[in-house]
C-alpha cells in the first residue's frame, strides 16, 4: 500500500474509532456505574440523530438557528429524557436481578423505535452539514477529506478529555465512582444516590444523543440506525473493560483500526474480525484491557 493511502486509512481508522468512542462512552458509564446492560443505548443514539434532524428547522425559526445550538439543544433534551427514564423505569430495579434491567431496556428499544416511526415516519432523511464546516481538505491527488469529519473527531476528543477530567478530578466524578462500588455506603455519607444515578443515566443518554446529533450530517438518519451501532459499542465497552473511559477510548481505536484495515485487506471476512479481536482479547485479559478501579 502506498504510504499516502496508508496514512489516509489510518486517519479513517482514528476518525471512526473516535466516533465509536463517543457512542460507547455513555454506554460504559451506565454499564460500569449502574450495572445496567443498556440495550436501549442505540435508541438514544437514534433519538439524538432524529432530534438533530427534526429540531433544526424549528430552532432555525425560533432561535435563529445554528448547528451548535441545535446540538446543544439535543443534548439537553436527551439529558432530561435520561433523567426521567431512570426515575420511571430503572429506579425500582436495582434490588433485583440484573437481567431484569436487560429486559426493561429491551422493551424500551421496541417502544422508542415504534414511537419514532409514529412521530417522524420511516423515511431516510439527510441532515445538512453546517455551511461553515462544509469544505474539504485535499489529500493526495484524487481524495479530499471533509472538514466536518475532522470536526467530529475534535468533538470526540474534547468529550473524551472532559469525561476523563470529570470522572477523575471532580467531586461529582468521585461520587460517581464511589457509587459504582458501594451504593449503600455512598448514601450513608449523605449523598442522594438515587439522584446521582439519575444524573449518570442522564449523562449517558446525553452522550449517546450527542453522538447521534453530530453524526447525523454524515450518516443521515434512518430507521434502525440505533441497533446497528449497539452491538459494536458493546464490543468496544467490553474490550476496554467495563466502566473504564480510558479503556473504551483505547478499545474504540483498536476496533476502528481492525475494522478499517479488515475491510481493505480481508474484505470477505471483515464482519467477523472485530469479534475475533474481542474474543482474543478476552481470552488473554478476561476482564478487558482496563478493569475499572
Amino acid at each position: 500500500m502506498d504510504p499516502a493511502i496508508f496514512l489516509i486509512q489510518c486517519l479513517n481508522a482514528v476518525q471512526y474509532g473516535l466516533l465509536l468512542f463517543l457512542v460507547a462512552s455513555g454506554l460504559t458509564l451506565i454499564f460500569g456505574i449502574m450495572g445496567i446492560i443498556n440495550l436501549a443505548h442505540g435508541s438514544f443514539y437514534m433519538i439524538g440523530a432524529y432530534m438533530a434532524f427534526a429540531l433544526e428547522p424549528l430552532i432555525a425559526q425560533y432561535l435563529g438557528g445554528g448547528f451548535l445550538v441545535t446540538v446543544l439543544f439535543c443534548v439537553l433534551a436527551a439529558a432530561i429524557l435520561g433523567y426521567f427514564l431512570e426515575w420511571a423505569f430503572f429506579s425500582f430495579l436495582y434490588h433485583r436481578d440484573h437481567l431484569q434491567q436487560v429486559l426493561m431496556t429491551y422493551g424500551l428499544i421496541l417502544v422508542f423505535e415504534e414511537l419514532r416511526s409514529i412521530a417522524v415516519g420511516n423515511d431516510v432523511h439527510g441532515v445538512p452539514v453546517p455551511s461553515w464546516l462544509a469544505g474539504s481538505l485535499a489529500l493526495g491527488d484524487v481524495m479530499t477529506y471533509p472538514i466536518y469529519r475532522l470536526f467530529i473527531s475534535a468533538i470526540c476528543l474534547l468529550v473524551a478529555g472532559l469525561l476523563y477530567w470529570v470522572l477523575a478530578r471532580t467531586r461529582l466524578g468521585m461520587m460517581i465512582r464511589a457509587g459504582a462500588s458501594n451504593r449503600e455506603m455512598i448514601s450513608s455519607l449523605g449523598i442522594d444516590i438515587n439522584r446521582l444515578y439519575r444524573i449518570v443515566f442522564a449523562i449517558g443518554v446525553a452522550l449517546a444523543a450527542l453522538a447521534g446529533a453530530i453524526a447525523a450530517p454524515v450518516s443521515s438518519v434512518y430507521p434502525g440506525m440505533g441497533n446497528s451501532v449497539l452491538i459494536i459499542c458493546f464490543v468496544v465497552v467490553v474490550i476496554g473493560g467495563i466502566g473504564s473511559i480510558k479503556g473504551a477510548f483505547l478499545a474504540a481505536m483498536l476496533v476502528g483500526f481492525v475494522d478499517t484495515f479488515g475491510q481493505v485487506f480481508f474484505p470477505g471476512i471483515a464482519g467477523v474480525l472485530v469479534y475475533v479481536l474481542m474474543a482474543a482479547i478476552l481470552l488473554f485479559k478476561p476482564e478487558g484491557l482496563f478493569r475499572q478501579g
Binding site: 425500582f92 422493551g107 409514529i118 467495563i242
Partner: protein
C-alpha cells in the same frame, strides 16, 4: 386450515420451549448467562438443511445426531474458550462467538448467503428402507415435537436432581466454595454448556423441519436475546419457567400482531409489545413463575423484601 395454523403455533411454542429449556440449563442451572445461544440453534438448523438430500426426505437417525453433534462441537470449542471469562464478559464472549458463526453463514456461500436455503422435505425416521416415523403431516409433526419437548424436559428435570445437577446448583450459587470442596468447576460448566448446545440443536433441527427455510438471522443476536428474554420472563429458577416464558412471549407477539384483536394498532405492535414487556418487568420481579407466590404475599401483610445486603 385454521386448525393447522393453531397447530403450527403450538409447534412453534414447543420448539422455542425446547430452545429456552436448553438455555435455562445454563442460566437457571449454572448461572451462566449466554447471549450467543442462537448459534447452536442456527448451526443445527443449517446442518439439518445441508445434510438433507434435495430429492427426498432425510433420515432423522442421521440428521438428529449430526445436528446435535455439530452444535455440541461448536459449544465444546467455544465453551472451552468462553468459560475462561465471567459475568458480563462471558455474555459478551458468547455473543462474539455467535456473531462469528452468523457472519460465516451470512457472508459465505456455505448456506446460501444472506438469503438462506430451503429444506425441501421434512425428514423422517428410517431404518434401512423402512419408514418408522413420518412427520410430514402437521399432526404427526406436532406429536413428534411434543415428544422431543417432553424428553428434553424430563431429561433436564432428572439431570438437575442428580448429583451433577446439585453440583451445577452449587456452582451457580458459589463457585469458589465448590472448587474448595473439590469440584473441577470448569469441567462441570463445560459439560453443561456443551449439553445446552446439543439440546438447542434439537430445537434447531425441529425449526428447520417446521418451515423448511433456514437463514443467517437464526443465529443473530436478536434471536439469542429473544430466547434469553423467554428464560428471564418466565423465571429462571424453574424448568417450567422457560416453557412458560416461551409460550408467553410467543403468544404476546402473536396477539399484538393480530389485526382481529388490535385492529390498526397491530401495525404498531412493537409499541404494545414493548410496553407490555416493561409492565411485566415492573410488576413481576420473579418472572411468570413468581406470580402465584406474589399473590400469596400480596394477601399476607405487605412487608419489605429482604435486602440484598
Amino acid at each position: 386450515m385454521l386448525g393447522d395454523y393453531y397447530i403450527s403455533l403450538v409447534i412453534k411454542i414447543m420448539i422455542f420451549a425446547i430452545f429456552a429449556l436448553s438455555l435455562q440449563l445454563l442460566v437457571g442451572g449454572v448461572g451462566l448467562v449466554s447471549l450467543g445461544h442462537a448459534a447452536f440453534f442456527g448451526i443445527a438448523a443449517y446442518v439439518t438443511t445441508l445434510l438433507s438430500p434435495e430429492s427426498g426426505p432425510g433420515n432423522l437417525l442421521i440428521l438428529l445426531p449430526a445436528a446435535m453433534c455439530c452444535a455440541l462441537i461448536y459449544a465444546l470449542v467455544t465453551g472451552a474458550l468462553a468459560l475462561r471469562t465471567k459475568g458480563v464478559y462471558f455474555i459478551m464472549v458468547t455473543l462474539a462467538f455467535s456473531q462469528m458463526a452468523y457472519y460465516v453463514f451470512h457472508d459465505t456461500d456455505i448456506g446460501g448467503g444472506s438469503d438462506g436455503i430451503y429444506l425441501y422435505f421434512r425428514p423422517e425416521l428410517r431404518l434401512g428402507d423402512m419408514v418408522l416415523l413420518n412427520i410430514d403431516s402437521p399432526y404427526s409433526f406436532y406429536l413428534f415435537t411434543l415428544g422431543c419437548l417432553l424428553i428434553t424436559w424430563i431429561f433436564l428435570a432428572v439431570l438437575m436432581r442428580s448429583r451433577f445437577g446439585a453440583a451445577l446448583t452449587g456452582i451457580r450459587v458459589n463457585e469458589q466454595r465448590m472448587r474448595s470442596a473439590g469440584y473441577s468447576t470448569f469441567n462441570y460448566k463445560l459439560v453443561a454448556y456443551t449439553l445446552a448446545g446439543a439440546l438447542a440443536g434439537i430445537s434447531g433441527l425441529l425449526y428447520a423441519a417446521k418451515d423448511g427455510f433456514v437463514n443467517p438471522e437464526l443465529l443473530a443476536w436478536e434471536q439469542s436475546g429473544l430466547v434469553l428474554l423467554m428464560v428471564i420472563l418466565g423465571g429462571s429458577t424453574r424448568l417450567w419457567g422457560a416453557v412458560l416464558g416461551a409460550a408467553g412471549l410467543t403468544l404476546l407477539q402473536e396477539a399484538f400482531q393480530s389485526q382481529a384483536l388490535f385492529g390498526d394498532w397491530s401495525s404498531h405492535w412493537h409499541l404494545t409489545f414493548g410496553l407490555s414487556i416493561i409492565a411485566l418487568v415492573a410488576l413481576m420481579p420473579n418472572g411468570l413463575i413468581g406470580i402465584s407466590a406474589q399473590w400469596r404475599n400480596r394477601r399476607s401483610a405487605a412487608r419489605p423484601a429482604p435486602s440484598q445486603g
